[in-house]
């Protein structure tokens, strides 16, 4: 019921449901928008993995039909669904309920806009990020974790200094002698005494 087969979205474009032809969103997306029949529940496709369901103020006021549509989409599709909802003075009262359903129960993304103009601007930004994602240019997303290897030495030293009675000097001595925190935890009190003296050795051992 969602879509027939997989959708191929041309680079930097959006495929839009026929029903939005002539609307304000469509006008503002002009040049980026391609209409297609039979998109079913989906309003816009950003990529072959991500699509948008647009809930208007009128949908909200009309009742629960849009909820059935969202649930049907969620059950039928493995696409990542972004729900954009028109949050106006009139529809504001419904927002918390919708958010609970969409984000907490269906596990989808929900973004509020004030009108169709804002929706089109948001879609343009989403498209630009979706393009970057497809081109594997993920480094440009400021919120994606870049895994750069960090030296563990300073952190290991910090951790050993948390043992009562152990400052920087003793921590260094201990690590040079025993190598790792794991080994340090497995040495006998006699071996500790050889490095730090009796009192501190006792403290470390009982810690």
């Amino acid at each position: 019921p969602v879509t027939a087969g997989s959708i191929v979205v041309p680079y930097g474009h959006v495929i839009g449901n026929e029903k939005w032809r002539g609307s304000e969103v469509a006008q503002r997306l002009q040049g980026k928008l391609i209409f297609e029949d039979g998109l079913g529940l989906v309003d816009f496709h950003l990529s072959n993995r991500t699509c948008i369901l647009l809930i208007s103020e009128a949908d909200l006021v009309a009742g629960d039909e849009f909820k059935r549509r969202l649930v049907r989409f969620r059950n039928a599709s493995s696409l990542r669904g972004i729900v954009i909802v028109e949050k106006t003075q009139i529809s504001d009262q419904y927002y918390l309920g919708i958010q609970k359903l969409v984000v907490l129960e269906l596990g989808m993304v929900l973004l509020p806009v004030a009108n169709q103009g804002e929706a089109s601007q948001l879609i343009i930004q989403l498209v630009s990020f979706s393009v970057r994602e497809q081109s594997r240019d993920r480094g440009t997303n400021p919120f994606l974790c870049k895994q750069h290897a960090q030296l563990a030495e300073p952190a290991v030293l910090q951790t050993v200094q948390q043992i009562p009675g152990v400052g920087k000097t003793k921590a260094l001595l201990l690590l040079q002698q025993f190598g790792s925190i794991h080994q340090l935890c497995n040495v006998s009190i006699n071996e500790l005494e050889e490095v730090v003296g009796q009192t501190v050795a006792q403290q470390i051992y009982t810690f």
Partner: protein, 248 residues
């Protein structure tokens, strides 16, 4: 992913009376910046709120979910971009799931309701958050934020990820907690779990990756990272600044 089971409404009626109450950790700075969130969580929703120096995030609602509370104006201004991205990237290092609650700025007395001018930058930030897999919730005031935090804690509880260990270790255990907290990319919740699940630091150091994952309620990669850290062979040469020579 999909959340099966009964609807939230059924549970939220009386979470307080059923067994131990839900627990949320709040960062100490939230006492100043979100006092109504904290008092609302306690008074209205009956949650156990433990205020502690989290540093990384504003709230921790389960063993794997951190929540940051952001004001709408913070997302509006490009000046905040670096600070925000650094903060969220650090969170991604220690948590499986991250959620931000975007809260409408409060209107100060004497000020007429501020007109929110949506910028391209704002839409860009939202898009980047979506793409990074960070959950976004919107709230219009602190009381609503509290309700959202409660909902998140409930959902996480239903998925078996709730914080269920004592959150205030004392004495010797306090020292041990501080040691765990110094481990990079280990969240406050995971450190508490380590304190609770293992008798000593040595027991932690001698545990296998699966045992660490189980005891600290960590994901497999996070447990592997912890295991690597504990077994890391220290090399003095790799310390960033040269240390003064020590007479021995």
């Amino acid at each position: 992913e999909r959340i099966p089971g009964p609807s939230l409404a059924g549970i939220s009626r009386g979470p307080v009376d059923q067994g131990p109450s839900l627990c949320v950790l709040a960062d100490s700075r939230e006492i100043c910046s979100g006092p109504e969130v904290i008092s609302c969580l306690r008074a209205e929703h009956g949650l156990r709120v433990q205020v502690c120096p989290l540093g990384s995030s504003d709230y921790i609602v389960s063993n794997r979910l951190a929540v940051d509370r952001l004001l709408q104006s913070e997302l509006q201004s490009p000046g905040n971009r670096n600070r925000l991205s650094q903060r969220l990237r650090r969170l991604q290092g220690s948590f499986e799931r991250i959620c931000v609650i975007v809260e409408t700025d409060r209107v100060r007395p004497g000020e007429t309701s501020r007109f929110f001018q949506r910028t391209q930058h704002y839409d860009g930030v939202l898009s980047a958050l979506v793409q990074a897999g960070i959950r976004i919730l919107f709230s219009s005031r602190q009381e609503e934020t509290a309700a959202l935090l409660k909902d998140l804690a409930l959902v996480e509880h239903r998925k078996g990820a709730a914080i269920q260990v004592p959150t205030e270790p004392e004495g010797h255990r306090r020292d041990i907690l501080n040691l765990y907290l110094s481990i990079p990319n280990l969240s406050y919740g995971a450190a508490l779990n380590l304190c609770h699940s293992f008798g000593s630091v040595a027991a932690v150091a001698n545990s296998s990756v699966p045992a660490l994952a189980e005891g600290a309620r960590l994901s497999r990669p996070q447990a592997e990272e912890l295991h690597r850290f504990l077994h890391h062979d220290f090399d003095l040469q790799l310390l960033p600044q040269p240390l003064p020579a020590k007479g021995k």
